[in-house]
Amino acid sequence: MLQRMEMVNGKLTQAEDGTGSVYVYVSPDKQERKHLVEALKLDEHTLASALDPDELARLEFEPEHTAVIFKRPRNYSSDDRFVFKVASTGLFLFADKLIIVLGDNVPLFQGKQFAKVSSLQEIMLKMIYSSIFHFVEHLKVINAVSDSLEEQINTSMQNKYLLNLFSLEKSLVYYLNGLNSNAKLIERLRNNAAKIGISGESLEFVDDMLIENSQCYEQAEIYSNILASMMDARVSIVSNNLNWLMKTLTIITIAIMLPTLVVSVFSMNVEFPGRTHPLMFWIIVGFALSSVVLVRLVWWLKKW
């Protein structure tokens, strides 16, 4: 799917067919890929990298354009089962146009940073910046999910919440990898700023991006360490909850077993004293109930 955009008075607006300076290709089909490779001379491997979530972020210089692959968080879907994944996006900067290639249809150019843009380089940098912001937002969500799972674990005897926490831990590893990869890319952008046409305020913006990305990485690292270090404690809590349940069941079993024993003894087909006593039934019931009280009393005195 192709979407054409153009810069009008510092704003990005939808362009008519055949015009525009920003081209957004969402999951390009075979024909679109052929056009990108043959007409615009994009490297086939770099184009494939833009759509491959496992590719690392990187910067490549081609004769007519600069190729940037960066990492961004993939939007979560219920099928992901608490695994927050990372996707790749490709930016191909030409002298007169910017081609954006991504795998899934997400609204681009949202937020105040795109309210005013002056060059294609600026759009490219702001897209990378918005991915850092996106990572930060997702880290907040991961933290909120982790808090909710902890609340559930405190009273749970099931493994599913622990497994969900493991999924979050895995997500943070993906995020750390993506953020680390983006940091290398931003550093390379700064080192090659003149070659790409980044100068003045945009260069300061690259420095800010580097700081923001580093803060985001540290935040992800802290969350990851907390999750990893507390996992053993959480496993113990679930195990302990199960032990408490087993203890309660044992009390119930013993409490039922003793009156059963009393009643069984008196049910034996032999003569025993007072068999013909008119209140014998209630005496036996009394013994049975006393045994329950006795068990409870011993339990209470022993503080089991």
Partner: protein
């Protein structure tokens, strides 16, 4: 009962990525600011809108109908807040 009201609205998910992580977190956070309880129904599934865990399992795609039901003293206000969060565009 005095002070307890109920409200109901139907909204359509407008975000291209559906009800994903960030809107879910924002909705759960918004609901917790109010006293009323909110439930969201999508297809045949009903979840507590105050629980991010339940919202993340809803899997509402773009164009899905969501039926919001609130019960409590500030039922209308909490639904206003949820509808506002649902109308935001997320990247």
């Amino acid at each position: 009962m005095v002070g307890s009201r109920s409200a109901k609205r139907t909204v359509i998910v407008g975000n291209p990525a559906g009800l994903h992580a960030r809107p879910s977190a924002a909705i759960a956070q918004a609901v917790r600011r109010f006293k009323s309880k909110v439930q969201i129904r999508s297809r045949n599934e009903v979840v507590d809108a105050g629980s991010i865990l339940e919202l993340l399992t809803l899997g509402a795609q773009q164009g899905s109908d969501l039926v919001l039901t609130a019960k409590g003293p500030d039922a209308e206000q909490v639904l206003d807040a949820v509808v506002e969060e649902l109308s935001k565009r997320y990247e």
